[in-house]
């Protein structure tokens, strides 16, 4: 390799390097931005979207009512679904044949049938079992299964089946040595799960759970078939009257997007929390590997 001129050495210090202006990247950015703005403008000025109507109904009491039903159902069904899913996952992985078979059966059934059908069955439970009795206590099924309870039970049990598999996958992803170590230190199984296994499994449980939560928000719209007035049902009830179909669907779409966006932010915060042990991986290693702390060096 010839052509190096030693007198250039001072100029070759990479510290002095400039980055050439990235013209193609900037042009691409500008172009993409222009297209996006143009599209937004076309949508904004198009009268068929009925933006004034959207604004008018955005905080309409009926819509607010529907929104609260959607959020309430989502939160309650999700909490029950996750709790039950955790129990199912543990039962499914247990050495106990009875527990693992029962959990497997539950998951098989509730994952294997459409949610819509499950909801309709819960709602019509009274035609199958007019009275429900436990021991000497007995209730009229129609008093127990209202549209609300049918919706909660239907959504929660379906969710539990999916969450059970997500949680089981997460628990399996944790290194076996961790459970063994907890065991060797005399921890009970429950404590090992709570303190050692689940916190590490969360890293792989949280992202698909976020997915489930978002699908759940939209799955709640199915409850309109059993006469529950959720967000989608509430805008439908308005446009059935006013025939402003597109603007009112936009109201629902914007609310769904807004909730989903907030959930995304929450999810990334939770993910950061559970991956705290991964941080500082590269920087610290470089610093410490070649020279372990001095005191020990002398002894070694």
């Amino acid at each position: 390799m010839s052509g190096f001129n030693p007198s250039d050495d001072a100029l070759r210090d990479v510290k002095l390097a400039h980055v050439p202006f990235p013209l193609p990247r900037v042009a691409l950015w500008a172009f993409t931005l222009a297209v996006a703005l143009g599209f937004a403008y076309i949508v904004a000025i198009n009268p068929n979207f009925g933006w004034p109507v959207v604004a008018q109904y955005f905080f309409d009491p009926t819509v607010m009512q529907g929104l609260s039903v959607t959020l309430g159902l989502t939160v309650v069904a999700m909490i029950i679904g996750v709790a039950l899913g955790l129990i199912l996952a543990i039962a499914r992985m247990s050495q106990d044949r009875l527990a693992s078979s029962l959990a497997g059966l539950f998951i098989w059934f509730f994952r294997g049938t459409p949610l819509l059908v499950q909801l309709i069955f819960w709602y019509n439970m009274s035609t199958l079992f007019p009275r429900i009795s436990i021991g000497i206590a007995s209730w009229n099924t129609n008093d127990l299964i209202t549209p609300l309870t049918a919706a909660i039970v239907g959504l929660a049990l379906n969710e539990a089946a999916y969450m059970a598999e997500i949680i089981r996958g997460g628990l399996l992803s944790v290194d076996k040595g961790q459970a063994e170590t907890a065991q060797a230190f005399g921890m009970t199984k429950a404590r090992a799960l709570r303190r050692i296994i689940i916190p590490q499994a969360m890293k792989s449980i949280v992202p698909p759970t976020g997915n489930q939560l978002i699908s759940m928000i939209k799955a709640t719209s199915l409850v309109s078939v059993i006469a529950m007035a959720d967000l989608l049902y509430s805008v439908q009830s308005i446009y059935n009257r006013t025939f402003e179909i597109i603007p009112l669907l936009l109201v629902a779409v914007l609310w769904y997007l807004l909730i989903t966006s907030i959930l995304n932010i929450g999810q990334s915060a939770i993910e950061r929390h559970y991956s705290r042990g991964d941080r500082g991986l590269t920087t610290d290693k470089k610093k410490e590997n070649p020279m372990p702390s001095g005191a020990v060096d002398e002894r070694a």
């Binding site: 290194d175 040595g177 961790q178 063994e180 170590t181 065991q183 060797a184 230190f185 005399g186 921890m187 009970t188 199984k189 404590r191 303190r195 050692i196 916190p199 590490q200 559970y274 705290r276 042990g277 991964d278 941080r279 500082g280 991986l281 610290d284 290693k285 410490e288 590997n289 372990p292 702390s293 005191a295 020990v296 060096d297 002894r299 070694a300």
Partner: protein, 257 residues
């Protein structure tokens, strides 16, 4: 070290098979309180399995293991031998410290949190008391500046020293070391062995499965050589390492010279 007096660990006729593979074919071993026993042997000789039988991480098929006068995993009552519940077994393990080949630190906890986990959760110590002792132990293994580091931020040798501190934090009557240096880069082995030598000097009862002949020579009160699931020979390191009686011991040791 001092002459062996009270027997802390008693193993009699321990058999263990994994399916058709017989790994332990009748192990008898006594370990006195304060004794440091190093188990040597080729891979597959059953030495790690035997170690794991002592705290019931593996269930044995035949024979028995006693630690501090209590049979591990079972209780003899009115002439009947009953299996213990998981909870009772957990209690038996709670005073047996263990150090693993792969360290097995809890990656989501800092070094300090790793050390105080069992003292708080299993031994019901107060957080203050556990933290104070954990700081002392981490300082003793040379990690006074790493209390808040997560395992991934530590080198292998540092991680293993945290693991040793974690095992010491439960104030163990017995320490089990399962190939503690086998997963380490050669230049990091020394710091872990130095820590272990210090513990041996302090009179802790230790059973160490290792390939480090040098450690056996310096720190062991007794060397046990295992091969093919049986104890081939045992005795003071000066005898077994310098003048092995058995051909199998000789051929094993010759690989290290």
């Amino acid at each position: 070290m001092s002459a062996p007096e009270t027997v802390l660990v008693r193993a009699r006729g321990v058999h263990k098979a994994f399916g058709p593979l017989e790994v332990l074919k009748g192990i008898d071993l006594d370990v006195a309180a304060g004794e440091v026993v190093v188990i040597l042997g080729p891979s597959g000789s059953g030495k790690s399995t035997f170690l794991r039988c002592i705290n019931h991480l593996e269930t044995i098929d035949q024979g028995f293991v006693e630690v501090d006068g209590e049979q591990i995993g079972f209780r003899l009552k009115n002439g009947r031998l009953n299996k213990l519940t998981n909870r009772e077994i957990a209690a038996q393990r709670s005073r047996i410290g263990m150090v693993f080949q792969q360290f097995n630190l809890y990656p989501h906890m800092t070094a300090l949190e790793n050390v105080i986990e069992a003292p708080i959760g299993v031994h019901k110590q107060s957080r203050d008391e556990a933290t104070r002792y954990a700081r002392e132990l981490l300082t003793r293994v040379g990690l006074s500046e790493k209390f808040d580091a997560y395992p991934r931020q530590l080198s292998g040798g540092q991680q293993q020293r945290v693991a040793i501190a974690r095992a010491l934090a439960i104030r163990p009557r017995l320490m089990l070391f399962d190939e503690p240096t086998s997963a380490l880069d050669p230049e990091l082995v020394g710091e872990v062995l130095a820590t272990m030598r210090d513990l041996a000097k302090e009179g802790l009862t230790m059973i160490v499965v290792t390939h480090e002949i040098g450690f056996a020579k310096e720190a062991a009160d007794r060397v046990v050589f295992m091969d093919g699931g049986v104890v081939v020979e045992q005795g003071p390191p000066g005898e077994v390492l310098a003048n092995p009686k058995h051909a199998r011991t000789r051929s094993f040791l010759s690989r290290f010279i």
